[in-house]
């Protein structure tokens, strides 16, 4: 018997799993940096989040009799990104576990699983945790030579640019080291997992808007979760527009909201709220920026 199937009979090599693996590879340098900066607490917290996400997804899909999709590694990515958004000192493990379960079950699986969630699971869980566990979430561990226990954004003394760039300052465990985040971003660009549009529009807007408001734009870029958010979270497939101009609009919107919250809001950091807000607008941005069809005639 011969196989009869619709064309095309050849397929590209990339698969969902290979894409997720690329994201994981791109996150590894930052994970290493976080261990150097914050110690093994960072690794333990990341492990807890990843394991909870994977087991949470597996158990939920089993209970609901859905196809188990943990093999696509997307739960691992969610776990890593969530951990990267938490302070390494989050010593009460159950908070991390609750956060991970919210990300993977409430935000992702309840909406139908991979590709169907409209909000970024890691971002939404982080926002939930920031509001629920405000104390633990905004107390950052002292780095090796204890410069400040708060993120520079919340009014601590501002470290030097080099120090900011290398990540040796307060903050969530995966957001401080700009160097490794940029390495990961370049890797994803080279592997064509992401395009430059969203990160450049996001960071560029923050730079310009901060400049206009008389803030120090470089500090705005190097502190807080901006690079982590712009490179890894605002480029998530299912929660951001697929079109080129949609990505630009998404990035600009994220940048504007981030700076507004940072400068005028009551929270020191606005990246998560900005991305979450723009997630909600994504379907509209997508339909507004649909490509013109070649040879299409308006009727």
């Amino acid at each position: 018997m011969f196989l009869v199937s619709p064309a095309p009979h050849v397929r590209a090599k990339d698969s969902t799993t290979s894409i997720m693996l690329d994201v994981i590879i791109a996150l590894i340098p930052t994970l290493i940096a976080s261990v150097i900066i914050f110690g093994f607490d960072a690794l333990a917290l990341t492990a807890i989040c990843v394991i909870t996400c994977v087991i949470g997804e597996f158990v939920f899909q089993k209970i609901c009799k859905r196809d188990v999709t943990v093999g696509d590694l997307s739960a691992v990515v969610t776990g890593m990104l969530l951990a990267f958004n938490l302070p390494a000192s989050l010593d009460i493990w159950w908070q991390a576990i609750i956060g991970s379960l919210v990300a993977i079950i409430v935000v992702k699986q309840l909406f139908g699983g991979i590709g169907k969630n409209f909000a970024n699971p890691a971002i939404t869980a982080r926002v939930m945790m920031l509001i629920s566990f405000s104390g633990a979430m905004s107390k950052f561990p002292a780095v090796n030579d204890a410069i400040s226990s708060a993120t520079p954004l919340s009014g601590g003394e501002m470290p030097s640019y080099l120090r900011l760039f290398l990540g040796n300052h307060g903050g969530s465990l995966g957001e401080t080291c700009a160097l490794t985040l940029l390495i990961g971003g370049v890797y994803l660009l080279v592997r064509r997992v992401i395009t430059w549009h969203t990160p450049v529009a996001f960071v560029g807007t923050v730079f310009l808007f901060a400049l206009i408001l008389g803030e120090n734009p470089v500090q705005h870029i190097l502190t807080g979760g901006l690079l982590l958010g712009a490179i890894f979270m605002a480029t998530d497939y299912s929660t951001t527009p697929p079109t080129k101009w949609g990505k630009v609009i998404f990035g600009v919107g994220c940048g504007l909201i981030t700076v507004l919250i940072r400068v005028f809001g009551s929270y020191p950091e606005g990246v998560s709220f900005a991305i979450l807000f723009m997630n909600i607008l994504t379907p509209h941005i997508t339909s507004l920026t649909r490509r013109k069809v070649f040879g299409g005639v308006k009727k």
């Binding site: 011969f2 619709p6 064309a7 009979h9 050849v10 397929r11 497939y237 080129k244 013109k292 040879g295």
Partner: protein, 439 residues
């Protein structure tokens, strides 16, 4: 003039047989010749069971309108007139001829006398030539269009499908014939300009065609980027002469006739010899075939005979396709005959044939970003599931040329182009019912 950048995909070209000059296979014992190979009315068998036939003898008369006559490619006896199911799923009448191996040529094969446009078109109608790029549109119908609007002939030498090299061989081995065919077309259709579009991955063809056409005024060889689907009619016209064929329009409407290079060579050959289209050069390739090569076979030769002529199988074939791997049709069995517009048969072994696992859509947008025409397959899919004809109309799924780039790039391995085809049918039904209501 809009500056629309047509996208597409970069494929692994797999042109393994590009160096293999086609050779004629020994005559198969039986040939199965369908009376309908392409769009339009089927031909009517004009031979009886038991009748002797010769090479080049008419066996299928044309019906009215969109149709093309059919000739025998072997000499022998008509064994049966039967109905079979063609690779595209339609039931067609078929003339089955048992060959005597002598290949006696029919007396009716005499070079046509052509002095003007009417005689030229008449000869093309009699030659049984159809578009050999794959679509099989009767060439006469294409050329008989109102020529006053036409200022350019575009010769399709893109051959963008992986594996296939039959056009490549035509452009190398029969460059003179192609050039002659172009001259005839330009003379009798009174067109001053011809552009030959060839993908850049075939430098040999570009050189050979440049050499062959250097003496003809108004002929230009245009190297095109090797991006699938470069040979799609609208893509080719846009890239070679910069014109946009709009929705619902034909190339003729923007002053262009598109014709495949092998079709042109066939026209020239017919004018010389009077031998109608009875045999075809096809590429035989794929991991399961022992000796991948180009061969010339009589129309009606079965896939089985083709495989045997190429050294049989290296491993058991799991999937057999007529045409290229991007748009070709998978066959249910090996008795299917080679038809006029077949340009390749691919035999895939287990590894190549095993279908990938389909996983949920992750909305990466690669389908949209690789669609040459900028369609939005994810939204089309959603509208199709909802049975929403109005949205499908807005998304212009009717413009989908089914090139398969979307399915090719999909990391979730979804059968996107198949969904598009279904959506096109849904849209057609929706528009028909809307018309019905309006009446």
């Amino acid at each position: 003039m809009s500056i629309f950048r047509l996208r597409g995909v970069h494929l692994n070209h797999c042109k393994n047989t590009a160096k293999s000059a086609p050779k004629r296979i020994s005559v198969p014992k039986t040939v199965i010749i369908p009376m309908s190979m392409h769009i339009g009315a089927p031909a009517r068998p004009c031979v009886k069971v038991g009748e002797d036939v010769k090479v080049g003898q008419l066996i299928g008369e044309t019906a009215q309108g969109l149709s093309s006559p059919i000739y025998s490619g072997v000499s022998g006896k008509v064994k049966k007139i039967d109905e079979i199911i063609l690779s595209n799923g339609t039931h067609v009448q078929t003339v089955i001829i048992e060959s005597d191996g002598l290949q006696t040529v029919s007396e009716s094969v005499v070079p046509p006398v052509v002095t003007n446009r009417e005689e030229f078109l008449d000869a093309i109608g009699k030659s049984g030539i159809v578009g050999l790029g794959g679509a099989g549109f009767p060439t006469l119908v294409k050329l008989a269009a109102d020529v006053s609007k036409i200022d350019t002939i575009v010769i399709n030498g893109a051959e963008c499908e992986p594996y296939i090299t039959s056009d490549t061989r035509t452009m190398i081995d029969d460059a003179e014939l192609v050039a002659e065919g172009i001259e005839m077309l330009m003379k009798y259709l009174e067109v001053k300009r011809t552009v030959i579009g060839i993908e850049k991955n075939k430098p040999e063809c570009i050189l050979s065609m440049q050499k062959a056409t250097s003496g003809i005024d108004g002929v230009q060889v245009k190297p095109l980027p090797a991006i699938f689907p470069q040979g799609g009619e609208k893509v080719l016209v846009y890239h070679s002469v910069g014109r946009v064929i709009e929705e619902g329009k034909l190339p003729v409407d923007c002053g262009v006739i598109v014709i495949n290079c092998t079709t042109v060579a066939c026209i020239a050959r017919y004018m010389h010899t009077g031998m109608p289209l009875v045999e075809k050069c096809i590429t035989v390739d794929g991991s399961a075939i022992a000796e991948p090569q180009n061969i010339i076979v009589p129309i009606g030769t079965s896939a089985m005979d083709v495989a045997n002529a190429c050294g049989g199988f290296r491993e058991p074939p799991r999937k057999i396709m007529y045409g290229g791997p991007m748009m070709g049709i998978a066959l249910p069995d090996m008795s299917s005959p080679v038809i006029k517009q077949t340009n390749a048969i691919l035999f895939f072994g287990r590894k190549e044939a095993t279908p990938p696992k389909v996983t949920p859509c992750i909305k990466c947008g690669r389908c949209t970003n690789s669609c040459p025409f900028g369609l939005s397959p994810t939204e089309i899919s959603k509208a199709y599931k909802a049975g929403d004809g109005a949205t499908l109309e807005k998304l212009k799924v009717n413009l989908c040329m089914e090139c398969g780039c979307c399915s090719y790039v999909c990391p979730a391995k979804r059968n996107i182009v198949q969904r598009n085809k279904l959506a096109k049918t849904m849209l057609r039904n929706y528009q028909n019912s809307k018309k019905g209501e309006a009446k």
